[in-house]
């Protein structure tokens, strides 16, 4: 449970690993009603869209970015602003890692701003993000 008064720029969020599979991507794309074949049809993905393997959804990584800060925050506050971008593709077989750190703290508003990332383990960031959370008084 974070205490607002103790938070300072540079504090890091716990990192978390994800290993997306055909099953997890099927369930995610069913839940968001997305039939884009690059997320489940390996032959199509390679032959037509020229990816090396089935593609992990960008918005799924966006969700993992949001979770990086919200799981840390728990019920102590709420998300005010969130953004992310899909910088490069990642694929089934990749281990992805989410995390982030405090960039700034606004005591007057009881808000903290975070930079967030999802990256391939040991490799490049695939989805950078930013979030502002407001702590309950």
């Amino acid at each position: 449970m974070p205490k607002f008064a103790d938070i300072k720029p540079g504090d890091t969020l716990p990192e978390r690993q994800y290993r997306p599979t055909n099953v997890s991507l099927f369930l995610y794309n069913a839940a968001i009603w997305n039939a884009h074949r690059i997320h489940y049809d390996e032959i199509y993905t390679k032959e037509v869209e020229k990816h090396p393997a089935v593609v992990v959804d960008g918005p799924l990584q966006g969700d993992w970015l949001a979770q990086a800060v919200l799981n840390w925050l728990g019920d102590d506050g709420e998300l005010v602003e969130f953004e992310y971008s899909n910088r490069r593709s990642s694929y089934i077989g990749d281990t992805l890692v989410s995390g982030g750190k405090v960039e700034s703290v606004d005591p007057e508003k009881r808000e903290a701003e975070f930079s967030l990332f999802v990256k391939v383990e040991g490799g490049d960031i695939t989805a950078p993000g930013r979030a502002i959370v407001r702590f309950h008084a």
């Binding site: 049809d41 960008g58 949001a66 919200l70 799981n71 005010v80 989805a127």
Partner: protein, 150 residues
């Protein structure tokens, strides 16, 4: 460069008809499981994770309106010489949590399109603004969404 025709550019400013969605607990639970949430309020469906609306507001249309890539032939997508579509990103301002039983109204507008040179060739960015309110007019979310066509 020169991927965006004058005809395509004329679509900037156009909106889809408003989408009305009633939020179900079961849909929140499915989303929460599939995104590997850990907080009870999400897994129980008491509250929707912030990114839930990305899926909840996607159009549900007949299969003959899906392209060979599986993507809906949605409105507000201009004719472009590039065909491969990627989700770009979102920037969202949250005003209120989304909970089961909420009746929401969403309006999506194509607000901009522009070109960039990527490392593997030209890219076209389509920018949409999404305004979500309750049926009573209470603001829920204001979002900018980007889709990348390559």
């Amino acid at each position: 460069m020169g991927m965006i025709s004058d005809e395509a550019r004329k679509m900037i400013g156009q909106s889809d008809p408003a989408v009305h969605v009633e939020i179900s607990r079961r849909d929140i639970v499915k989303y929460s499981v599939s995104t590997e949430q850990t907080l009870e309020k999400y897994l129980n469906g008491d509250e929707a994770p912030p990114m839930f609306l990305f899926g909840a507001l996607r159009p549900v249309i007949s299969m003959d309106q899906l392209g060979p890539d599986g993507i809906a032939n949605a409105s507000l997508v201009p004719e472009l010489p590039l065909k491969r579509v990627m989700a770009g990103g979102t920037k969202t301002r949250y005003f209120r949590q989304v909970k089961p039983g909420d009746k929401l109204v969403a309006t999506r507008t194509l607000s901009d399109m522009y070109e960039k040179s990527g490392s593997q060739g030209p890219l076209v960015f389509l920018v949409y603004t999404l305004d979500v309110k309750t049926e009573a007019g209470e603001p829920v979310v204001e979002e900018t969404q980007t889709r990348i066509v390559r």
